[in-house]
């Protein structure tokens, strides 16, 4: 069973001004990602990369076509089932870190444990995750006291708390300097080696080069790196 199976995905936004045609961001995207793959999706700003990621994570269900993620039809399931999928099966990493400023680094990592049935042995796992990203000494710090790189590593630790089989990352190195970004890329490589499926949306070549497959989103269609449109595998 594939980790991601998208067929003919379309996504339209209403026109920004009356009289203009609707904005068609995705125009029949087909994508199949096997379990354990590390896929990078490149594309220019505004090409629909983040939109694609939101569809995959079930954060946006207003689209055309069929989408199965880890065997789950994201349009057919209930809101609660989708929340459970995000809770236990999918880890999200965002460009702007998206940490809750009121919580400490450890509490931010523990955030998935607040919902659903929680995460087994959450506190130990959270400390392990922080240790893995090299931030075990910053567990009590709030996001405001952390550097950009540290915040992103906390966000990655949070994504890893429930040990999900799929990690979706949206420009994870976009706000990081070169050396910090390299550390994050190394971490992704390591997760891939451990068998995690990764789909990373990026416009940075250094991130793409770490992936085993590179796709480009251009004019609403997903194509293999610099080649023809992707065919359904």
């Amino acid at each position: 069973m594939s980790a991601i199976d998208l067929r003919g995905i379309t996504k339209r936004y209403p026109p920004r001004e009356p009289g203009l045609p609707p904005l068609e961001l995705l125009r029949g995207v087909d994508l199949m990602v096997g379990r354990g793959e590390f896929v990078a999706v490149e594309g220019q700003s505004g090409s629909g990369k983040s939109t694609l990621l939101h569809l995959l994570g079930g954060l946006d269900r207003d689209f055309g076509g069929a989408a199965r993620v880890l065997g789950c039809d994201v349009r057919a399931v209930t809101d609660a089932e989708l929340a459970a999928l995000r809770h236990t099966q999918i880890g999200f990493v965002f460009q702007s870190f998206n940490l809750l400023p009121a919580l400490t680094a450890l509490e931010n990592v523990l955030l998935p444990d607040f919902f659903g049935d929680g995460v087994p042995d959450a506190e130990r796992r959270a400390r392990e995750a922080l240790d893995r990203v090299g931030l075990s000494d910053k567990a009590g710090a709030r996001p405001a006291a952390l550097s950009g790189g540290e915040r992103q590593r906390v966000a990655i630790a949070r994504a890893l708390l429930a040990r999900p089989p799929l990690l979706l990352a949206d420009e994870p190195t976009g706000n990081l300097d070169a050396s910090t970004g390299e550390g994050v890329i190394d971490l992704f490589r390591q997760l891939h080696r451990e068998g995690m499926t990764l789909l990373i949306v990026t416009h940075e070549a250094r991130v793409s080069h770490a992936a085993t497959r590179i796709l480009v989103l251009r004019e609403g269609v997903l194509r293999a790196d610099g080649a023809e449109a992707m065919e359904t595998e």
């Binding site: 946006d60 995000r86 809770h87 965002f94 607040f114 919902f115 929680g118």
Partner: protein
């Protein structure tokens, strides 16, 4: 989502938005504070009314109708047979006949009265009560001692209050307490009146001994044992067989209506003047309390609107954070629960502060009353009566107001499109 985790998550947001939420909590505190304050004031004043007009819910005073055919013909009277009939009425637990002293009597005091030289004379009005009715209120025996012995009397506590607050200050007399007066003897001249024409032949000098204070005692005068009154009335040829009234005690408050009907069937009526006063004043107090409570409810309602605005602003500011919560597995219900938990904490804080404010305001007002108001009769040590129910109601209303105020913002937060929320700048 478990409660402990919900509280932890809400706590962080509360600390961060302390300023804005403090304003909301302040509004809620003001509303609930007013509510608790007015309720406690209403209850306190009702207590004063009950003290001034102590009314039993299961007792009625039965009298001969003032205008009755039987009474005009001399047939309508309360004698032992009537009392027996009253005792037989369905729902009656007991009947205690009362009789007035039907001859004139005076008390002349000339001497030391608790350290003051006093010279005074009073017409004595006395009512005879059955000793069982006075019960333990009499600290010394309350029975007819027989000819030539001091007659035991009980006074009404309200009369003592009026003496202490009005009579004593005006005449520069000492203020008295129960314990000072118990056992005190006052001269009594039976058959004598300060109105010469009313004085009977062979007036007799004796004395009264105060044996206690009771709410059963007549307010206008003193109360003696019924047997003593009958003996004196008989001795001077006055009517010693018909009673002035009968206090009828029903088996329960629910039986009072049936008892009243039975009393009317016997051609008698119920003297409920005091009850009517109590009910009327009590109703007035209740009405004012209700009006003030409605005002407090209005303030609480406005606080709820303010809470709604504050939480709307909070949800707008935290749109992205709500997107994060959804991304890590929060359901719509979880998001709503987080907002409502914050509102509950705000309401709870507002409620507790409101109750404290009410208590502080009450204490200040009581202090002001103690020092600023004259010492009038029945002036209570406090005008407020705080009950646990008031506190529970205040905190409950505060909680409800905050939750109602946050309901729509919580729903809006739950309905946020997570994808849009995450891209919110």
């Amino acid at each position: 989502m478990r409660t402990g985790k919900l509280i932890r998550l809400a706590r962080g947001n509360l600390v961060r938005e302390l300023g804005a939420l403090a304003v909301s909590a302040g509004g809620v505190a003001l509303g609930t504070g007013c509510l608790v304050f007015f309720l406690a004031l209403g209850t306190g004043l009702q207590g004063v009314v009950n003290e001034v007009f102590p009314v039993s819910t299961r007792e009625v005073e039965v009298v001969v109708p003032q205008v009755a055919l039987g009474s005009l013909l001399g047939e309508q009277k309360i004698d032992d047979a009537t009392v027996a009939k009253l005792r037989a009425v369905r729902g009656v637990a007991a009947a205690y006949p009362k009789m007035q002293l039907r001859i004139p009597a005076v008390s002349r005091y000339n001497g030391l009265f608790f350290g003051r030289e006093v010279r005074m004379g009073l017409e004595v009005v006395a009512t005879g009560l059955m000793p069982e009715l006075v019960g333990p209120d009499a600290r010394m025996p309350f029975e007819d001692p027989g000819e030539g012995q001091p007659i035991p009397v009980v006074g009404n506590r309200r009369l003592l209050e009026l003496y202490n607050k009005v009579f004593a200050p005006q005449r520069n007399l000492p203020r008295l307490t129960d314990s000072m007066l118990i056992g005190f003897q006052i001269p009594l001249e039976l058959g004598r009146s300060f109105v010469t024409s009313r004085t009977l032949p062979n007036p007799q000098e004796t004395s009264m001994q105060l044996v206690g204070f009771s709410e059963r005692a007549t307010l206008a005068g003193v109360s003696m044992p019924l047997a003593a009154i009958q003996r004196i009335n008989r001795k001077y040829g006055a009517d010693a067989d018909t009673y002035s009234s009968v206090l009828v005690r029903a088996q329960s408050a629910d039986d009072v209506t049936d008892v009243a009907a039975g009393v009317r069937k016997l051609g008698l009526e119920i003297d409920d003047a005091e009850r009517r006063y109590a009910v009327q004043i009590g109703a007035a107090v209740e009405l004012v309390t209700l009006a003030l409570s409605l005002l407090a409810a209005l303030i609480t309602g406005l606080a709820a609107v303010n809470t709604m605005q504050a939480f709307y602003a909070s949800v707008r500011e935290r749109t992205r954070e709500i997107g994060i919560l959804r991304a890590v597995g929060a359901t719509r219900g979880d998001v709503a629960a987080v907002v409502l938990a914050e509102a509950a904490a705000t309401g709870l804080a507002g409620g507790v502060v409101g109750v404290l404010l009410a208590r502080i305001a009450a204490a200040l007002l009581d202090r002001l009353a103690r020092t600023g108001l004259p010492d009038f009769p029945f002036k209570p040590p406090t005008f407020f009566s705080f009950h646990a129910e008031h506190v529970a109601l205040g905190v409950g209303v505060a909680l409800l107001a905050a939750l109602l105020g946050a309901l729509i913002p919580a729903r809006a937060a739950a309905r946020l499109d997570p994808a849009k929320a995450l891209t919110e700048s």
